[in-house]
């Protein structure tokens, strides 16, 4: 018990920021899923929560890749605070693009993440920001 509390205490003080840049191609989706799972494990997310994050990041990236300019990069910025993981994924687009909110990808993404924002305010870029808190679905 004491050990577990200490570990949580240590992690609460960590602010990790990790950036990943990959070709904007679906062949790299599995790499991002693996990175997501590895980073989520650092925050002591449960296995179910890690799986939710893995799926949510995959869906967000798959949505962006449909609008991405071929030959450009996808960037994923992971920020880990004590209780929460925030992920911003971004691609280059032609003009202002909006993610389709009426399809299965958006349905799955919004069900599995605690917060989802589509950021399409600047031309030629589109981003999705998603957040998940540790233990959010459970009573304290």
């Amino acid at each position: 018990m004491t050990d577990a509390t200490d570990v949580t205490g240590d992690l609460a003080g960590i602010r990790d920021a990790v950036s990943v840049r990959l070709p904007a191609a679906s062949a790299y989706l599995s790499v991002l899923r693996t990175a997501t799972a590895g980073l989520a494990a650092r925050l002591d997310f449960t296995l179910d929560e890690i799986e939710d994050l893995r799926i949510a990041v995959d869906e967000a990236c798959a949505m962006l890749l449909r609008q991405a300019v071929p030959g450009t990069d996808l960037t994923a910025e992971f920020e880990l605070t004590g209780q929460e993981m925030s992920i911003r994924v971004e691609v280059s687009t032609v003009g202002i693009a909006e993610p389709k909110r009426d399809d299965f990808a958006w349905m799955v993404l919004t069900a599995l993440a605690d917060d989802v924002d589509a950021v399409s305010d600047s031309p030629d870029h589109m981003a999705i920001v998603l957040r998940k808190r540790r233990g959010a679905a459970r009573p304290a």
Binding site: D58, A105, V108
Partner: protein
């Protein structure tokens, strides 16, 4: 992803192993078309499938609509918790029967 189709009874059983995502759906779609030449009654055996996202859901839904239009059936067996959760999130579980085992799917 690896995919294999075999006839079992009057069913065509499509066994999916590995990750089903945007990179592998076209391969599965081809396999489904080939499987229909064996039988109009399809079972997706997901025991070895480690990951599925909404791209996989679209393949299952296509198979379901095609089966409904042509008098066939589609069912799923032995999905791991994560693919099962995705199917339930989009409401697919209400249309396509999910069996715990292949044996149960073959008997149903």
């Amino acid at each position: 992803m690896h995919v294999l189709t075999e006839r079992n009874g009057h069913f065509a059983v499509i066994t999916v192993t590995g990750d089903l995502d945007a990179t592998t759906t076209a391969q599965l779609q081809d396999e489904v078309r080939a499987a229909r030449t064996l039988s109009g009654d399809l079972i997706f055996d997901m025991a070895g499938m480690s990951f599925m996202d909404s791209a996989g859901i679209r393949v299952l839904l296509d198979a379901y609509h095609h089966a409904r239009a042509h008098g066939g059936t589609v069912s799923v067996c032995a999905p791991r918790p994560s693919p099962r959760k995705v199917m339930e999130l989009v409401g697919l579980a209400g249309h396509i029967p999910i069996h715990d085992t292949l044996q149960e799917a073959l008997g149903g």
